[in-house]
Amino acid sequence: MDRVLLLRSMMLIRAFEAALLRNPGHGFQLLSSGEEAVAVGLCAALTADDQLLTSGRSIGPALARGLDPGRVLAELLGKSAGPCQGKGGRGHIAEPSAGFFGAHAVVGGNLTIAAGVALALQSLGSKAIVACLFGDGACGGGALHETLNIAALWKLPLVLVCDNNRYSVSTPRAAALAPEYLSDIAKPFGVPGQTVDGMDVMAVLEAARGFVELARSGGGPSFLECVSFRFSSHSTATRDTRTPAELDAARSHCPIELMAGRLAAEGLLAPDVRAELEHDVAEAVSAAASFAEASPFPDPSEALSDVA
């Protein structure tokens, strides 16, 4: 694993979302800046055949999974060149053939679907496993319980990854969730649970690797909680309720700066390399924008295709 590539992947997400944010014509979006380490660390633990399912906050995970930024942007803008031909749009982007089974914007709604995908892979004799990424918000819902129970009983190859950014819209996690550690929820089912620093891509990767390996070797499901922080508001259309002090404090723990600092300290990231990466991702983002903008909107008649 080239750790500089992990850094680059996080930087790409950050730059991609920043560009999106600067272009309000694109409509509201669910950004994940601040949470890049969770997506990137998890995806680095997956192989090409594995499948990833996510919540509606899916830009970072889609890019981290290696989807083409231009096609991702096209989908977010509702353009035909998106993998879903612009029909899924924000919150529902998917490219199963690329190992991104898809986003689903019903909070907690991806959990049981992910268990089903895992059951299919298991039944079909595949070596692939399923990772399911969801927010702390999903931990108050019953789908998590039902999924943990059935995944444990059937030893499904499923890694449940909670990106605990400590908020569900405006509601602090402590006001919505009684458990001290969300990963504790897995324990009664005999499912291993672990809580890691979600701002540290290496911590996420290491823990994810262990659980992915467990799932792949027939050891069944696991629950990885990554404690992170969302730098922007819930969506670009939602007012933020957090204090500037809280935001400042959190932003000082940037996953990108943490990783960059670490690599620099180890002599693996000379200043010009960092600058080159910045340039690199900026290019990628602007190429994505050109690609997406050049793509047409679907024809209105598409409203009736692929329904049944």
Binding site: P96, V106, T112, G116, L124, A143, N149
Partner: protein, 330 residues
Amino acid sequence: MSREPQTRVVKLFFREAIARALREEMARDERIVILGQDVGSFGGSYKEFLGLYKQFGAARVRDTPVAEASMVGVGAGAAAAGLRPIVSITYMDFLMLGLDPLVNYAAKARYKTGGQLRVPLIVKTTAGAKGQGVAHSQCLEAWLMSVPGLKVVAPSTPADAYGLMKSALRESGPVVYVDHKRLFPMAGEMPEDEQITPFGLAKYLRRGADVTIATYSHMTQVALAAAEALAAEGVSCEIIDLRSLAPLDLATVCDSAGRTGALLTLEEGQIVCGVGAEIAFRVREKLGGAVRIDRVGALAAPVSSNPVLEAACVPDSARVARAIRGLLAA
């Protein structure tokens, strides 16, 4: 003179017809799995899965917890990823617990992924009243009919239970297959050879000249009884078993109603925004105001397990006959 091939006939109970379809299809298609409460060695609440566990094993016939929401979700995910799951929801009332994965995911996955995914999920459930009370007696077919991307079928005979289940197992998208509690004791004949019932094709159960009854599932029995009673009064009823609600065979209903000039829709569930309201609208759209139409369904009340109140709530042949007399007198 060429010899006519003999069609051998077998007589099966409803549950046996379902099990036969599942057995044949599971042998043909390894991707078919069954998920549900007590579907394993127990063989299902109505024994409709009997023998399958023994034949196909615990990996393909899976007992599940009482967790309808996740079972529909797991089925939907598994279907999207290459299996053909049949999820058994013992009573249709509990399908409410699984509507989010069924409607918000399974029915929309093909559309929202621009055709990348298909969800050949079958939800098999049982509707209708038979003494089990307010939360075990409902008929929600009309809700499901309204969901783009979902198909809905409901047999009234063992032959169609067999034939519709076989069709369902070859669909590329989600299907809700609806049995009825009162049909399980029924036996019926069907060809020994495979005979598939296509979706979207209604069937004449009885020919008649004066009035058309469009119905499905157990209410076909009620319609037949009403037709008998009315025949004694000289009223000749034609009965159509819709079999498939989505897609709906409007052409057959229109053909018949166009001939008889009168249409009664009959369903066991609520009539408000019901199957009958939909059929009435579409028949009028085709045939205009010439056809008299009425509808019969449950009273606007919950269905009690109380024998008196259940009987009062759900349509019976007397109520159907009364409605037809009213319709013909109008």
